[in-house]
Symmetry: C2
Subunit: 340 residues, 2 copies
C-alpha cells in the first residue's frame, strides 16, 4: 500500500506538501497540486485514518452502546443517529450490552480505548453507579438516551409520564375502572415513569389504584405467570395496558392463549408498538415514540457537547404521540389524541 511518502517522492515534493494538498490546509501552487494529485492517482494512495487519528488526537468517530437491538425502535433510533453523524462526517462504532451491566461497562471501556470522540448510551438497564463513575471520570462527551439516571449528564428521552397518563386517561374516560398494567422492571427509569403516568391518570379520573393490578416483573416466566393469573382470574380487569413492546408481547401471548378477543373481552393499550400495525387487527391504541427524532437529537446534543465541553448539561424530553387504533374499543376511531 502506498503512503504519503511514496506520493511525495513520485511527485517530487515534500511530505508536508502532500499533506497540505490532501487537507487543503495551506495554499499550494496549482501546478504542484496537479502533480501531487497525479501521483496520488498513480499510486492509488489512500490516506491512513489511523495514523491521522493518532497525530490529530481525535478519531472523528462516536461510540453507540445499545442494550438490545431487538427492540423495534432500535433501528429507527440508529437511523436518526446515523443521519446526523454522517452529516458531521463521523463514523459510528456499535457495541451491544444485551442488558448486562458488566458488558455495558466493558463496551464503554473498549470504545474509550478506541478513542471515540463521543459516546451515546441508549436504553440502558437499571442505573449503574459504576457506569456513571466511569463516564464522569474522564469527562468525555456522553449523551444518555432513554436512561435518565443522572442529572449531571446530557440526556434525551421521551416524556413518558404525560404520554402514559394520556393513554390511560383515554380508557378511564371510557369508563374502565379496573385497568391492569404490565409495568415491567421498575428499576428501569423509563418504566418507572410510565407507571407513574398510569397512577396519575387513575387519580385524574378518581379511580383508586388497586396494587394487585400492577404487574412489576421483568420479562420472564414469572411475568408470564402473573399475566395469566390476572387475565384468567375470577375478577379480570376490563382493560390492560403495557409499558413496553417486549411487555406487550408477553401480554398478547397470554391473551392469545386464553383466546380472549380484543377489544370485546378485554381492552388493550400499550406504550410503544409494532411497525405497520395499522394493517393488522387488533390495531393497538398506543403511544408512539419518535425514535428517529430521539436518535437525531441525541447525536446533535453530542455534537454540541463535543464542541463545548463546558456547556451545562441538558435533558431533552421529546413529546410522544398517541395513535388511536381499535383495541381500546371506543366507538369512534379518532385521529391522534392530544397529550395534555
Amino acid at each position: 500500500v502506498a503512503t504519503s511518502a511514496d506520493v511525495a517522492r513520485l511527485a517530487g515534493v515534500s511530505l508536508s506538501t502532500v499533506s497540505h494538498v490532501l487537507n487543503g490546509t495551506r495554499p499550494v501552487r496549482e501546478a504542484t497540486r496537479q502533480r501531487v494529485l497525479a501521483a496520488i492517482e498513480a499510486t492509488s494512495y489512500e490516506p491512513d485514518g489511523v495514523a491521522r487519528s493518532l497525530r490529530r488526537a481525535k478519531t472523528d468517530s462516536v461510540g453507540v452502546v445499545v442494550d438490545d437491538t431487538s427492540q423495534p425502535a432500535f433501528a429507527a433510533m440508529i437511523r436518526g443517529i446515523e443521519m446526523e453523524a454522517s452529516t458531521a462526517a463521523l463514523t459510528l462504532l456499535l457495541a451491544h450490552s444485551r442488558g448486562d451491566p458488566e458488558r455495558e461497562l466493558q463496551s464503554v471501556r473498549v470504545l474509550r480505548e478506541r478513542r471515540v470522540d463521543g459516546l451515546l448510551i441508549a436504553e440502558g438497564s437499571a442505573a449503574s453507579g459504576q457506569l456513571l463513575e466511569l463516564l464522569r471520570s474522564r469527562s468525555s462527551p456522553v449523551v444518555l438516551i432513554d436512561r435518565l439516571d443522572a442529572v449531571d449528564l446530557d440526556q434525551v428521552g421521551v416524556d413518558n409520564a404525560p404520554a402514559m397518563r394520556a393513554l390511560i386517561g383515554h380508557i378511564v374516560g371510557l369508563g374502565h375502572t379496573r385497568v391492569g398494567l404490565v409495568a415491567g422492571d421498575l428499576t428501569v427509569a423509563t418504566l418507572r415513569e410510565r407507571e407513574h403516568g398510569y397512577r396519575l391518570a387513575l387519580a385524574d379520573g378518581g379511580v383508586p389504584v388497586d396494587e394487585t393490578l400492577i404487574l412489576a416483573h421483568r420479562e420472564g416466566p414469572e411475568l408470564s405467570h402473573a399475566i395469566r393469573a390476572l387475565l384468567a382470574g375470577p375478577d379480570r380487569p376490563s382493560a390492560v395496558a403495557s409499558s413496553s413492546v417486549t411487555l406487550t408481547v408477553e401480554l398478547l401471548k397470554a391473551i392469545k392463549e386464553l383466546r380472549l378477543g380484543v377489544p370485546e373481552d378485554i381492552v388493550v393499550v400499550a406504550f410503544d408498538t409494532f411497525a405497520h400495525s395499522e394493517f393488522f387487527s387488533p390495531h393497538l391504541t398506543s403511544v408512539d415514540q419518535p425514535a428517529v427524532e430521539i436518535g437525531r437529537q441525541a447525536m446533535r446534543l453530542l455534537l454540541r457537547r463535543m464542541l463545548d465541553p463546558d456547556m451545562p448539561p441538558r435533558a431533552l424530553k421529546l413529546p410522544a404521540t398517541i395513535v388511536h387504533g381499535d383495541s381500546c374499543g371506543c366507538a369512534e376511531p379518532r385521529s391522534p389524541l392530544p397529550i395534555a
Copy 2:
C-alpha cells in the same frame, strides 16, 4: 491522560516492560508485574487503541455497510454479526448507504481509510461494477450479504428461489391459478431470485405465467398505482404474493384502502414478514429468513477469510422456512411447510 511512558516512569521500568505486562507477550517477574499494575492503577492509564492499531497495522474492527436499517430483519442480522464479532473481540463500524450506490461507495472508502480488518456489505442495491472493482482492488477481506452479484467474492444469503417456490406452490396447490406477484426492482439479485421461484412454482403446477400479474416496479407511486390497478381491476387475481417486507407494506396499504378482506376476498402470502405478526390478523403465511443466522454466518466467514486470504471464495445459502398463517385461506393451519 496517562501514557505508557508515564506508567513506565512511575513503576521504574522500561516502556517495553509495560507493554509486555499489558499484552502478556513475554514473561515478566511477578514483582515487576505488580509494580507496573500498581502504576497503571495509580495513573488510571488506559491504553491507546489508535496508537496500537498504527503500530500493529490492524485495528481489530470490521466495517458493516447496510442499505437500509428500516428493514426489520436488519436489527436481527446486526445482532448475529455482533455476537460473533464480540466473541472475536472485534468492534463494529457501521455505515448506511440508504440505497444510494454513491453513498455505498463512499461508505466503503471511509471504512477502508479507517483501516478496518474486514468488511461486511449487506442488502446492497443493484450490482455496481464500481463497487466490485473497489472491493477487489485492494483484496481486503469482504463478505457480501444477500447480494449475490459476484462469483469471486465470499457471500451469504438465503436460498430465495426454493423458498418462494414452496410458498407459491402452496397456494397453487390450493387451486389458485391467477396469482399476482409484487416483485419489486428486478435488478436486485434477491428479488430476481424470488421472482424466479414464483415462475418455477407456477410451472410446477402447470399454470401458465400471466406477465400482467407480475408487478416489477421499485417502491414508489408507480408501484402503488400498479397494485391498485391490479386489485381494483375487473379480473382481480384470487391471490397475491409479495417479494419483500417493504413491498408487502405497499400491498397491504392497497388492500386496506380497497377494503378487501384477507383471505376471503384475496389470499396473500409474502416473502419475509413482520415481527410478532402471529398475534395479529391476518397472520401472513410467509417465508421467514434466518436473519440472525445470516449475520452470524457472514461474520464467521469473514473471520475465516481474515485468517486465510487465499481460501477459495465461498457462497453460503441458508435455508428459509415457511410460517403458515391464515392469510392463505387454506382450511387447516399446519405447522411449518417443508421447502422442497
